[in-house]
């Protein structure tokens, strides 16, 4: 039997097109998109409050990993999950550096079967750098200071992982 014979195509009723009006008052124009982007900016202040909880959570996950290096799988996963959430949230609320750092941390630990003291130090550095970004309110690309922080982190990570 060929695969094509078992394929069935169904056309669902397209109700969406009939329920949206094109143009006119209330339609999504440039002004509406700008209002929506402003909503994101307004929520940035609240982000700064609850991201502190995430920073504490990821620090605790790091400490738990440190205490369980002989059986690290679930603890590595815990750090990864929190970093992954922070990656998605940071840039959504205007803190792009949190997205960069969260992503880099995810890439660093994903798939690690074993964890060394050096790995723990690197994870800790990422967490500390995220704390700096938040405490210094480095929104957007963080400006010159933000870029300096990223470059400094990259240099230190390179140094301790190559040593």
């Amino acid at each position: 039997m060929s695969d094509d014979e078992s394929v069935k195509v169904i056309t669902p009723p397209n109700t969406l097109k009939s329920r949206v009006r094109e143009g006119g008052p209330g339609s999504v124009d440039l002004a509406a998109l700008e209002r929506a982007e402003a909503v994101i900016a307004d929520l940035a202040d609240s982000y700064l409050e609850w991201v502190e909880e995430d920073l504490e959570k990821i620090r605790r996950a790091h400490d738990a990993l440190s205490a369980n290096m002989d059986n690290p799988a679930e603890y590595v996963d815990a750090v990864f999950q929190i970093a992954h959430d922070m990656k998605g949230q940071g840039g959504s609320f205007g803190y792009d550096l949190m997205t960069i750092l969260g992503n880099d941390l995810c890439r660093f630990i994903e798939g690690k079967q074993a964890v060394t003291k050096t790995d723990l130090n690197v994870i800790s550095l990422y967490i500390d750098t995220m704390k700096i970004v938040i405490s210094k309110r480095m929104s957007g690309d963080g400006g010159a200071e933000g870029q300096k922080v990223l470059a400094g982190l990259a240099m230190v990570v390179k140094k301790i992982t190559s040593g």
Binding site: S2, D3, D4, S6, V7, K8, V9, I10, T11, P12, P13, N14, T15, L16, K17, R19, V20, R21, E22, G23, G24, P25, G26, S27, V28, D29, A32, L33, R35, A36, E37, A38, V39, I40, D42, L43, S46, Y47, W50, Q81, H84, D85, K87, G88, Q89, G90, G91, S92, F93, D96, T99, G102, N103, R107, G111
Partner: protein, 187 residues
């Protein structure tokens, strides 16, 4: 460019993080949406779907106990699914190629990489309105036709095989930008 009025559409937002739910809801309201309902995970969302006639679902990937992928499969193929055809936008930080393919193969319509932007979200909503997709039942798969573009070279299931090869057979995968995600989905 056509501007749509979205006020008659019902949106279901599924995310375990209340701040992210508030963010998506805030964006949608600013875009003129009147009817939004929240759910905190896939199981909660599936329950809500029984009485809330969602036109579009915006769904996070990482959630407990039922994640976005399992939720999508449940909506598409669950025996008691209230609406197997409902469009689903997967909203996630997972942008590795194999993850994008996995989400598409679960039956999502659109894939949006976090961080979220209002323009990006509206672009996905527009795509759903303007490009309604036929549904396909093929083997274990039920969901929107994964071939978005007419391709005379298409030969049935071979296409999915080439995707597996492109994604390294599902093991790992490079990080993709939103543009690359779109190119992969449109291919």
């Amino acid at each position: 460019m056509v501007d749509y009025n979205l006020e008659r559409l019902n949106f279901l937002i599924v995310d375990d993080n209340k701040h992210m739910r508030a963010l998506v809801q805030g964006i949608l309201h600013a875009l003129g949406v009147k009817n939004c309902l929240d759910a905190i995970d896939g199981a909660d969302a599936f329950k809500e779907l029984r009485h809330f006639p969602a036109d579009i679902i915006i769904c996070d990937w990482n959630m407990q106990p039922l994640d976005g992928l399992d939720f999508t499969r449940l909506v598409r193929t669950g025996k008691d699914s209230p609406n197997p055809f409902v469009p689903i936008i997967m909203l996630t930080g997972h942008t590795e190629m194999n993850r994008v393919v996995e989400a598409r193969d679960a039956g999502v319509h659109e894939f949006m990489a976090k961080p979220i932007s209002a323009k990006g979200l509206y672009a996905r909503i527009k795509a759903i309105i303007e490009r309604p997709r036929p549904f396909v039942r093929a083997g274990m798969y039920f969901g929107p036709d994964r071939r978005r573009r007419d391709n005379p070279a298409y030969r049935g299931s071979e296409r999915r095989k080439s995707d597996d090869e492109a994604s390294g057979g599902g093991g790992g995968g490079a990080e993709l930008s939103q543009e690359e995600v779109q190119a992969l989905l449109d291919n």
